[in-house]
Amino acid sequence: MVFEKASPRQDFLLISYRDMGFLINRSQFSASTTLDEVTPIKNAPPYLTGVFPYNKEKILLFDYDAYLQDTFHCRRLADSRLCILMGREDFSPERRPLIEKLLKHPSLSRDYLGLIISAQAEIIDIPLDELFLAPRNLRSYLGRRGVYGCRFPREDMIQHFIDFEITLINALRGGGK
Protein backbone atom coordinates (compact mmCIF):
# COMPACT_ATOMS: atom_id res chain seq x y z
CA MET A 1 0.00 0.00 0.00
CA VAL A 2 1.30 3.45 -0.88
CA PHE A 3 0.40 6.44 1.23
CA GLU A 4 0.85 9.81 -0.34
CA LYS A 5 1.82 12.61 1.95
CA ALA A 6 -0.99 15.19 2.05
CA SER A 7 -0.04 18.69 0.97
CA PRO A 8 -0.15 21.28 3.77
CA ARG A 9 -3.13 23.60 3.49
CA GLN A 10 -3.48 27.30 4.13
CA ASP A 11 -6.43 29.65 4.63
CA PHE A 12 -6.71 32.39 2.03
CA LEU A 13 -9.10 35.21 1.33
CA LEU A 14 -10.20 34.71 -2.27
CA ILE A 15 -11.49 37.83 -4.05
CA SER A 16 -13.07 36.92 -7.37
CA TYR A 17 -13.28 38.95 -10.56
CA ARG A 18 -14.14 37.97 -14.12
CA ASP A 19 -11.50 35.42 -15.30
CA MET A 20 -9.26 36.35 -12.39
CA GLY A 21 -9.05 35.99 -8.64
CA PHE A 22 -6.75 37.08 -5.84
CA LEU A 23 -5.53 34.96 -2.97
CA ILE A 24 -4.46 36.74 0.20
CA ASN A 25 -3.08 34.99 3.24
CA ARG A 26 -5.83 35.03 5.91
CA SER A 27 -3.32 36.03 8.56
CA GLN A 28 -2.77 39.42 6.88
CA PHE A 29 -5.95 41.04 8.18
CA SER A 30 -7.97 41.23 11.40
CA ALA A 31 -11.66 41.23 10.45
CA SER A 32 -14.23 42.07 7.83
CA THR A 33 -17.39 44.16 8.00
CA THR A 34 -20.12 45.61 5.83
CA LEU A 35 -19.64 49.09 4.38
CA ASP A 36 -22.18 51.62 5.60
CA GLU A 37 -22.30 55.40 5.70
CA VAL A 38 -19.10 56.04 3.80
CA THR A 39 -18.10 59.70 3.76
CA PRO A 40 -15.93 60.58 0.75
CA ILE A 41 -12.72 62.55 1.32
CA LYS A 42 -11.11 64.91 -1.16
CA ASN A 43 -7.49 65.70 -2.07
CA ALA A 44 -6.22 62.49 -0.51
CA PRO A 45 -3.42 60.24 -1.80
CA PRO A 46 -4.38 57.66 -4.46
CA TYR A 47 -7.11 55.20 -3.48
CA LEU A 48 -7.73 56.79 -0.05
CA THR A 49 -11.32 57.56 -0.84
CA GLY A 50 -13.34 57.93 2.34
CA VAL A 51 -14.01 57.19 6.00
CA PHE A 52 -16.69 55.12 7.65
CA PRO A 53 -17.91 54.67 11.26
CA TYR A 54 -16.87 51.52 13.12
CA ASN A 55 -17.02 50.99 16.91
CA LYS A 56 -17.54 54.72 17.51
CA GLU A 57 -14.44 55.58 15.49
CA LYS A 58 -13.85 56.75 11.95
CA ILE A 59 -11.90 54.31 9.82
CA LEU A 60 -9.84 55.56 6.88
CA LEU A 61 -10.68 53.62 3.71
CA PHE A 62 -8.34 52.44 0.98
CA ASP A 63 -10.16 51.40 -2.20
CA TYR A 64 -8.34 48.09 -2.79
CA ASP A 65 -11.04 47.05 -5.25
CA ALA A 66 -10.22 50.01 -7.52
CA TYR A 67 -6.50 49.33 -7.08
CA LEU A 68 -6.88 45.70 -8.21
CA GLN A 69 -9.02 46.66 -11.19
CA ASP A 70 -6.56 49.35 -12.29
CA THR A 71 -3.44 47.29 -11.75
CA PHE A 72 -4.52 43.85 -12.99
CA HIS A 73 -6.97 45.04 -15.65
CA CYS A 74 -9.76 42.93 -14.18
CA ARG A 75 -13.49 43.55 -14.09
CA ARG A 76 -15.79 43.21 -11.13
CA LEU A 77 -18.48 40.52 -11.06
CA ALA A 78 -20.93 42.56 -8.97
CA ASP A 79 -21.27 46.06 -7.56
CA SER A 80 -21.52 45.21 -3.87
CA ARG A 81 -18.44 45.76 -1.75
CA LEU A 82 -17.30 45.11 1.80
CA CYS A 83 -14.50 46.19 4.09
CA ILE A 84 -11.46 44.35 5.41
CA LEU A 85 -9.89 45.76 8.56
CA MET A 86 -6.13 45.77 8.90
CA GLY A 87 -4.85 46.56 12.36
CA ARG A 88 -1.55 48.28 12.99
CA GLU A 89 -0.24 44.97 14.27
CA ASP A 90 -1.04 43.30 10.95
CA PHE A 91 1.73 45.35 9.33
CA SER A 92 5.37 44.36 9.56
CA PRO A 93 7.55 46.51 11.85
CA GLU A 94 9.43 48.10 8.93
CA ARG A 95 6.25 49.29 7.23
CA ARG A 96 4.19 50.08 10.34
CA PRO A 97 5.52 53.66 10.71
CA LEU A 98 4.06 54.63 7.32
CA ILE A 99 0.63 53.39 8.38
CA GLU A 100 0.91 55.11 11.78
CA LYS A 101 1.77 58.34 9.98
CA LEU A 102 -1.24 57.88 7.70
CA LEU A 103 -3.60 57.34 10.65
CA LYS A 104 -2.24 60.22 12.72
CA HIS A 105 -5.16 62.54 11.99
CA PRO A 106 -7.08 63.27 15.23
CA SER A 107 -10.47 62.36 13.76
CA LEU A 108 -9.32 58.90 12.59
CA SER A 109 -8.95 55.55 14.31
CA ARG A 110 -5.26 55.02 14.99
CA ASP A 111 -5.69 51.27 15.19
CA TYR A 112 -7.30 50.26 11.91
CA LEU A 113 -7.18 50.92 8.20
CA GLY A 114 -10.14 49.77 6.12
CA LEU A 115 -9.69 48.17 2.73
CA ILE A 116 -12.65 48.20 0.38
CA ILE A 117 -12.87 44.94 -1.55
CA SER A 118 -15.39 43.34 -3.87
CA ALA A 119 -18.09 41.43 -2.01
CA GLN A 120 -17.28 38.43 -4.22
CA ALA A 121 -14.96 37.22 -1.50
CA GLU A 122 -14.68 34.14 0.67
CA ILE A 123 -12.23 32.32 2.91
CA ILE A 124 -10.99 29.09 1.34
CA ASP A 125 -8.32 26.65 2.35
CA ILE A 126 -6.02 25.52 -0.42
CA PRO A 127 -3.42 22.75 -0.58
CA LEU A 128 -0.09 24.50 -1.09
CA ASP A 129 0.70 22.07 -3.92
CA GLU A 130 -1.84 23.95 -6.03
CA LEU A 131 0.02 27.24 -5.70
CA PHE A 132 3.03 27.97 -7.90
CA LEU A 133 5.57 30.70 -7.47
CA ALA A 134 6.01 33.09 -10.40
CA PRO A 135 8.48 31.89 -13.06
CA ARG A 136 12.06 32.41 -11.97
CA ASN A 137 12.63 35.11 -14.64
CA LEU A 138 10.13 37.41 -12.86
CA ARG A 139 9.96 35.92 -9.36
CA SER A 140 11.97 38.37 -7.29
CA TYR A 141 10.88 41.35 -9.40
CA LEU A 142 7.17 40.60 -8.94
CA GLY A 143 7.71 39.52 -5.35
CA ARG A 144 9.01 43.01 -4.50
CA ARG A 145 5.71 44.34 -5.84
CA GLY A 146 3.65 41.89 -3.81
CA VAL A 147 2.82 39.37 -6.55
CA TYR A 148 4.20 36.00 -5.45
CA GLY A 149 2.65 33.43 -7.72
CA CYS A 150 -0.61 31.96 -8.85
CA ARG A 151 -2.98 29.05 -9.13
CA PHE A 152 -5.06 27.95 -12.10
CA PRO A 153 -8.34 26.51 -10.78
CA ARG A 154 -9.65 26.25 -14.37
CA GLU A 155 -8.17 26.52 -17.86
CA ASP A 156 -9.59 30.02 -18.29
CA MET A 157 -9.01 31.36 -14.77
CA ILE A 158 -5.97 32.58 -12.84
CA GLN A 159 -5.82 33.38 -9.15
CA HIS A 160 -2.86 35.59 -8.27
CA PHE A 161 -1.28 35.04 -4.86
CA ILE A 162 -0.62 38.57 -3.64
CA ASP A 163 0.58 40.30 -0.49
CA PHE A 164 -1.92 42.73 1.04
CA GLU A 165 0.70 44.77 2.83
CA ILE A 166 3.25 45.16 0.00
CA THR A 167 0.66 45.97 -2.68
CA LEU A 168 -1.02 48.46 -0.35
CA ILE A 169 2.19 50.24 0.62
CA ASN A 170 3.36 50.35 -3.02
CA ALA A 171 0.04 51.85 -4.08
CA LEU A 172 0.24 54.48 -1.32
CA ARG A 173 3.73 55.36 -2.52
CA GLY A 174 2.35 55.84 -6.03
CA GLY A 175 3.77 52.65 -7.55
CA GLY A 176 0.43 50.97 -7.96
CA LYS A 177 0.10 50.96 -11.73
Binding site: A134, P135, L138, Y141, L142, V147, R151, I158
Partner: protein, 176 residues
Protein backbone atom coordinates in the same frame (compact mmCIF):
# COMPACT_ATOMS: atom_id res chain seq x y z
CA UNK B 1 45.09 3.90 -53.77
CA UNK B 2 42.14 5.65 -52.30
CA UNK B 3 39.47 6.63 -54.77
CA UNK B 4 38.18 10.16 -54.56
CA UNK B 5 34.43 10.67 -54.64
CA UNK B 6 33.44 13.32 -57.11
CA UNK B 7 31.15 16.10 -55.99
CA UNK B 8 28.86 17.27 -58.75
CA UNK B 9 27.08 19.94 -56.80
CA UNK B 10 29.22 23.09 -56.54
CA UNK B 11 27.43 24.26 -53.44
CA UNK B 12 28.33 21.04 -51.66
CA UNK B 13 31.85 21.37 -52.98
CA UNK B 14 32.20 24.90 -51.64
CA UNK B 15 30.78 23.76 -48.31
CA UNK B 16 33.30 20.95 -48.20
CA UNK B 17 36.12 23.36 -48.95
CA UNK B 18 34.91 25.76 -46.29
CA UNK B 19 34.69 22.97 -43.75
CA UNK B 20 38.17 21.73 -44.61
CA UNK B 21 39.46 25.24 -43.88
CA UNK B 22 37.69 25.21 -40.57
CA UNK B 23 39.35 21.88 -39.83
CA UNK B 24 36.27 19.68 -39.61
CA UNK B 25 37.29 16.30 -40.96
CA UNK B 26 36.97 12.66 -40.12
CA UNK B 27 39.69 10.02 -39.77
CA UNK B 28 39.97 9.39 -43.48
CA UNK B 29 40.35 13.04 -44.28
CA UNK B 30 36.71 13.12 -45.39
CA UNK B 31 34.82 16.15 -44.23
CA UNK B 32 32.14 15.51 -41.64
CA UNK B 33 29.44 18.08 -42.04
CA UNK B 34 27.77 19.06 -38.83
CA UNK B 35 24.08 19.82 -39.07
CA UNK B 36 21.94 22.08 -36.96
CA UNK B 37 18.24 21.53 -36.56
CA UNK B 38 16.19 24.73 -36.82
CA UNK B 39 12.57 25.38 -36.05
CA UNK B 40 11.19 28.00 -38.39
CA UNK B 41 8.24 29.93 -37.05
CA UNK B 42 6.11 32.75 -38.35
CA UNK B 43 5.46 35.80 -36.26
CA UNK B 44 2.93 37.90 -38.13
CA UNK B 45 4.09 37.79 -41.77
CA UNK B 46 7.77 37.35 -40.93
CA UNK B 47 9.68 34.13 -40.43
CA UNK B 48 12.26 33.53 -37.74
CA UNK B 49 14.36 30.51 -36.87
CA UNK B 50 15.58 29.15 -33.60
CA UNK B 51 17.57 26.08 -32.71
CA UNK B 52 15.08 23.23 -32.34
CA UNK B 53 16.89 22.06 -29.23
CA UNK B 54 15.79 25.29 -27.50
CA UNK B 55 12.13 24.28 -27.79
CA UNK B 56 10.43 21.79 -25.50
CA UNK B 57 6.88 21.90 -26.80
CA UNK B 58 4.42 23.72 -29.03
CA UNK B 59 1.04 24.51 -27.51
CA UNK B 60 -1.95 26.48 -28.69
CA UNK B 61 -5.44 27.65 -27.95
CA UNK B 62 -4.95 28.72 -24.36
CA UNK B 63 -5.48 32.19 -22.87
CA UNK B 64 -2.78 34.60 -21.73
CA UNK B 65 -3.32 36.06 -18.28
CA UNK B 66 -2.18 39.64 -17.78
CA UNK B 67 0.56 40.26 -15.21
CA UNK B 68 1.17 43.83 -14.03
CA UNK B 69 4.41 45.81 -13.59
CA UNK B 70 6.21 44.00 -16.44
CA UNK B 71 7.71 45.41 -19.68
CA UNK B 72 5.21 45.55 -22.58
CA UNK B 73 6.78 42.58 -24.38
CA UNK B 74 5.88 40.37 -21.40
CA UNK B 75 2.31 39.57 -22.32
CA UNK B 76 1.55 37.66 -19.13
CA UNK B 77 1.38 34.07 -17.94
CA UNK B 78 0.01 30.96 -19.58
CA UNK B 79 -1.05 27.82 -17.77
CA UNK B 80 1.02 24.78 -18.70
CA UNK B 81 0.02 21.79 -16.60
CA UNK B 82 -0.99 24.13 -13.78
CA UNK B 83 2.33 25.96 -13.76
CA UNK B 84 2.74 29.61 -14.87
CA UNK B 85 4.98 30.35 -17.86
CA UNK B 86 6.06 33.88 -18.76
CA UNK B 87 5.00 34.75 -22.32
CA UNK B 88 7.32 36.94 -24.39
CA UNK B 89 5.90 38.71 -27.44
CA UNK B 90 8.78 39.49 -29.82
CA UNK B 91 6.52 41.62 -32.05
CA UNK B 92 6.35 44.16 -29.25
CA UNK B 93 10.13 44.13 -29.05
CA UNK B 94 10.75 44.36 -32.80
CA UNK B 95 7.74 46.29 -34.09
CA UNK B 96 6.05 47.78 -31.00
CA UNK B 97 2.83 45.97 -31.81
CA UNK B 98 1.00 43.18 -30.01
CA UNK B 99 0.75 39.83 -31.76
CA UNK B 100 -2.80 38.51 -31.80
CA UNK B 101 -2.25 34.78 -31.40
CA UNK B 102 -2.67 31.93 -28.95
CA UNK B 103 0.18 29.74 -30.16
CA UNK B 104 3.24 29.32 -28.00
CA UNK B 105 6.66 27.72 -28.01
CA UNK B 106 7.53 26.40 -24.58
CA UNK B 107 11.26 26.94 -24.25
CA UNK B 108 13.55 24.28 -22.88
CA UNK B 109 14.98 25.87 -19.74
CA UNK B 110 16.33 23.81 -16.90
CA UNK B 111 15.16 26.04 -14.05
CA UNK B 112 12.83 28.57 -15.61
CA UNK B 113 9.43 28.75 -17.28
CA UNK B 114 9.34 30.73 -20.51
CA UNK B 115 7.21 30.73 -23.64
CA UNK B 116 7.35 32.63 -26.92
CA UNK B 117 4.20 33.88 -28.57
CA UNK B 118 4.22 32.95 -32.27
CA UNK B 119 1.77 32.92 -35.17
CA UNK B 120 2.63 29.41 -36.34
CA UNK B 121 5.30 26.76 -36.76
CA UNK B 122 6.36 26.64 -40.43
CA UNK B 123 8.79 23.72 -40.53
CA UNK B 124 11.72 22.01 -38.88
CA UNK B 125 14.83 21.68 -41.05
CA UNK B 126 18.36 20.37 -40.81
CA UNK B 127 21.03 22.59 -42.29
CA UNK B 128 24.80 22.30 -42.33
CA UNK B 129 26.37 24.38 -39.58
CA UNK B 130 28.13 26.42 -42.26
CA UNK B 131 24.78 27.58 -43.68
CA UNK B 132 24.38 29.96 -40.78
CA UNK B 133 25.62 33.35 -41.90
CA UNK B 134 26.69 34.97 -38.69
CA UNK B 135 26.00 38.68 -38.32
CA UNK B 136 29.46 39.25 -36.92
CA UNK B 137 32.17 37.18 -35.33
CA UNK B 138 31.32 38.52 -31.88
CA UNK B 139 27.65 38.69 -30.96
CA UNK B 140 26.95 41.85 -29.02
CA UNK B 141 24.74 42.03 -25.95
CA UNK B 142 21.90 43.80 -27.74
CA UNK B 143 21.83 41.57 -30.82
CA UNK B 144 18.53 39.71 -30.96
CA UNK B 145 19.80 37.55 -33.83
CA UNK B 146 22.78 35.26 -34.17
CA UNK B 147 22.69 35.41 -37.94
CA UNK B 148 20.57 34.21 -40.81
CA UNK B 149 19.88 31.12 -42.85
CA UNK B 150 18.51 30.70 -46.38
CA UNK B 151 16.98 27.25 -46.65
CA UNK B 152 16.67 26.08 -50.27
CA UNK B 153 18.28 29.41 -51.25
CA UNK B 154 14.99 31.17 -50.77
CA UNK B 155 14.33 34.04 -48.39
CA UNK B 156 16.71 35.01 -45.63
CA UNK B 157 15.48 33.96 -42.20
CA UNK B 158 16.97 35.46 -39.07
CA UNK B 159 18.00 33.11 -36.29
CA UNK B 160 16.92 34.31 -32.84
CA UNK B 161 19.48 34.83 -30.14
CA UNK B 162 17.34 33.67 -27.23
CA UNK B 163 19.94 34.16 -24.49
CA UNK B 164 20.18 37.85 -25.46
CA UNK B 165 16.38 38.24 -25.54
CA UNK B 166 16.27 36.83 -22.01
CA UNK B 167 19.16 39.05 -20.97
CA UNK B 168 17.12 42.05 -22.14
CA UNK B 169 14.24 41.02 -19.88
CA UNK B 170 16.63 40.68 -16.97
CA UNK B 171 18.18 44.09 -17.68
CA UNK B 172 14.82 45.79 -18.12
CA UNK B 173 13.31 44.56 -14.88
CA UNK B 174 16.45 45.24 -12.91
CA UNK B 175 16.17 48.87 -13.99
CA UNK B 176 12.54 49.35 -12.94
Amino acid sequence: MKENKKIDDNKALLRKMENRHSGVSDKDGEVTIRYDKYMIVSIKEKKYALYAEEVREIIGGIPIFYVPFTPPYVRGFINRHGEPYTVLDLTVLFERENLDSRNFLILKKEDDQLALLISDVVEIINLPESDLHRISSAVKEDDYFIGSISPRDQEEIFVLNLPNVLAKLEADISGI
